[in-house]
């Protein structure tokens, strides 16, 4: 593989894991606009453990995940007191705080950033992305996933159905934190360098866009969203500077044409091999006789 292709595959894997981090909370109806903050903590934890404490990758990546999972867990309590646009603002503030802190902290290299000693190849990134995708698909197929999706639709009714809404929401923030930390640690080890400026608010916005435009109803959404957003700018490179314009128009068009995201549950069910033959989930239905 050429260096260019490898670079794209690497960033695609990191973006995909990152997108799943944001997706897990978004699937339960909570929008996290501080994704870059979580990713930065993962990246810097791994970088510091690798370069300053001389730890191997087998230690740095899990510890980075544990750190961001813990932060996701702790931050969920104040954040879950807010709703809607206020939650978006609260998580955004968290992201800004983290990048501001890293920029001013001499321990983490400040504006100069940090060099990461241990290198991780693209093979491990691909493996991590595949495993993460598999785990998120499993999660969404489970009863916990059903609870997550029902909270997205109707919190009071979920409660009456016996779902511990707060516990599920805290769980999604914790899982999301762990995955964001994983994506950050992989970023640090693959690119061998971290700087606070990379983990800015634009990155948080982009990853949330991957998820919202891909669709939050099924685990296919972030997969399609990250592929679309990572590859489209590359395809558009032939158009020079115009690619930013085309990219922007594509985003607006997506939001207008398919506000619920590219992939919906209904679409997945329609395309499922199970429903290729025999009865299909018809849009209209009749009530059977008797009862």
């Amino acid at each position: 593989m050429s260096g260019y292709a490898t670079g794209i595959v690497a960033i695609l894997c990191i973006n995909l894991i990152f997108a799943y981090a944001i997706f897990v909370t978004a699937a339960a109806g909570q929008l996290n606009l501080g994704g870059a903050g979580f990713q930065a903590i993962g990246a810097y934890t791994a970088a510091w453990l690798s370069s300053n404490a001389g730890q191997p990758v087998i230690v740095t990546i899990p510890l980075a995940m544990v750190t961001t999972a813990l932060i996701g867990f702790l931050i969920s309590f104040p954040v879950l007191r807010t709703r809607g646009v206020y939650m978006v603002l609260a998580t955004f503030a968290f992201g800004q705080f983290v990048s501001g802190f890293l920029l001013r902290s001499p321990t983490f290299g400040g504006a100069i950033g940090m060099v990461v000693s241990d290198y991780v190849g693209v093979g491990l990134l691909v493996a991590a992305a595949i495993i993460t995708t598999g785990l998120v698909f499993f999660l969404m197929a489970s009863r916990l996933g059903l609870a997550i999706r029902s909270i997205h639709d109707d919190e009071p009714v979920s409660t009456i159905m016996g779902v511990n809404v707060r516990a599920v929401q805290v769980t999604t923030f914790t899982i999301g934190g762990a995955l964001a930390g994983l994506s950050g640690a992989l970023y640090a080890h693959h690119f061998s360098f971290v700087e606070a400026q990379y983990f800015n608010s634009l990155l948080s916005i982009y990853v949330l866009l991957f998820v919202l435009i891909g669709g939050t109803q099924t685990a296919w959404g972030p997969l399609v969203g990250s592929l679309f957003f990572t590859l489209l700018p590359e395809v558009l490179r032939v158009g020079g500077s115009w690619r930013y314009v085309v990219f922007g128009v594509a985003i607006v068009a997506m939001m207008v044409l398919r506000p619920q995201g590219i992939v919906t549950r209904e679409l997945v069910s329609r395309l499922s091999p199970r429903n290729w033959f025999g009865s299909r989930p018809a849009p209209a239905a009749r009530l059977a006789d008797g009862g």
């Binding site: 489970s142 989930p281 239905a285 059977a288 008797g290």
Partner: protein, 263 residues
């Protein structure tokens, strides 16, 4: 009502600001009964359902389910204690399929970590899905299990909500206007279905405006007006009651009861 009732409300009181929406309401639902809760609009019927399922806390009194006080129990635990309900305006999850909505009703039965991490959407032959399918079939719902609930006719969605409520194996099933918006054939089917449900030992408490449905289904009735209990007794005698007639009609003809009684 000789045996211990399945549900007892003792002086249940709720105020919203200066308005008392439930004023010392006391009544009991006999075990295995099919009871109706009726009253004019704004009488406090849905409020009472919300108090029983824990949407709001009580301002006074107590609610006892099968000998256990439940008004102090968190809302999400009440379904596991045997209390399940439907909603006046259909509250199915719009982004879940038919079968997923029904399987959500099983949540209270599946509390262990192993149950929570069971991939129910992948296990086509799994026990959870099979039970949900059986319940749908028993209720006469023949739609595709993966169909979008939003695309289904009103009557079918209404029925799916009842099936979802039944999945938790309730001892007391509370239905908030189950027949509203149904055509006469659907109403008759629903009545027959609910009688079959009650025959399995489930007690029914039904808020309903359709009096012919109430007469057909429920042998007992309680009537609320302005948050106060004004009648408790057999359904057949409800329209002869002076206070009930006054609450509904003042001095005009009794239209809801078939137009045959003049006040």
């Amino acid at each position: 009502m000789a045996a211990e009732p399945i549900l007892a409300l003792n002086n249940v009181t709720k105020r919203f600001g200066g308005l008392t929406v439930s004023d010392q309401v006391s009544f009991a639902v006999p075990r295995g009964a099919r009871m109706a809760l009726i009253g004019p609009n704004g009488a406090g019927k849905t409020t009472l359902f919300n108090l029983m399922s824990g949407v709001y806390p009580l301002d006074g009194g107590e609610i006892v389910l099968d000998g256990q006080r439940i008004d102090t129990v968190p809302s999400r635990r009440r379904i596991a204690m045997g209390l399940s309900r439907s909603f006046q305006n259909i509250r199915l999850m719009p982004h879940l399929s038919v079968i997923e909505n029904v399987m959500l009703g099983q949540h209270a039965q599946a509390s262990g970590i192993g149950d929570l991490l069971t991939p129910i959407s992948w296990m086509r032959g799994g026990v959870w899905r099979r039970l949900a399918m059986e319940r749908l079939e028993a209720a006469g719902i023949s739609v595709h299990p993966d169909a979008d609930v939003a695309s289904l006719p009103y009557g079918v969605r209404k029925k799916i909500e009842v099936v979802r409520a039944l999945m938790s194996k309730p001892r007391l099933l509370m239905l908030d206007e189950p027949a509203a918006g149904l055509n006469p054939r659907e109403t008759a089917e629903l009545s027959a279905f609910l009688k079959a449900v009650a025959a399995t030992g489930v007690t029914l408490l039904v808020v309903e405006h359709d009096m012919s449905f109430v007469h057909d289904l429920c042998e007992h009735t309680v009537v609320l007006n302005f948050g106060k209990l004004i009648y408790e007794g057999p359904t057949r005698a409800v329209q002869d009651d002076e206070a009930v007639r006054e609450a509904y009609l003042g001095s005009r003809r009794v239209e809801t009861a078939g137009g045959s009684h003049a006040a």
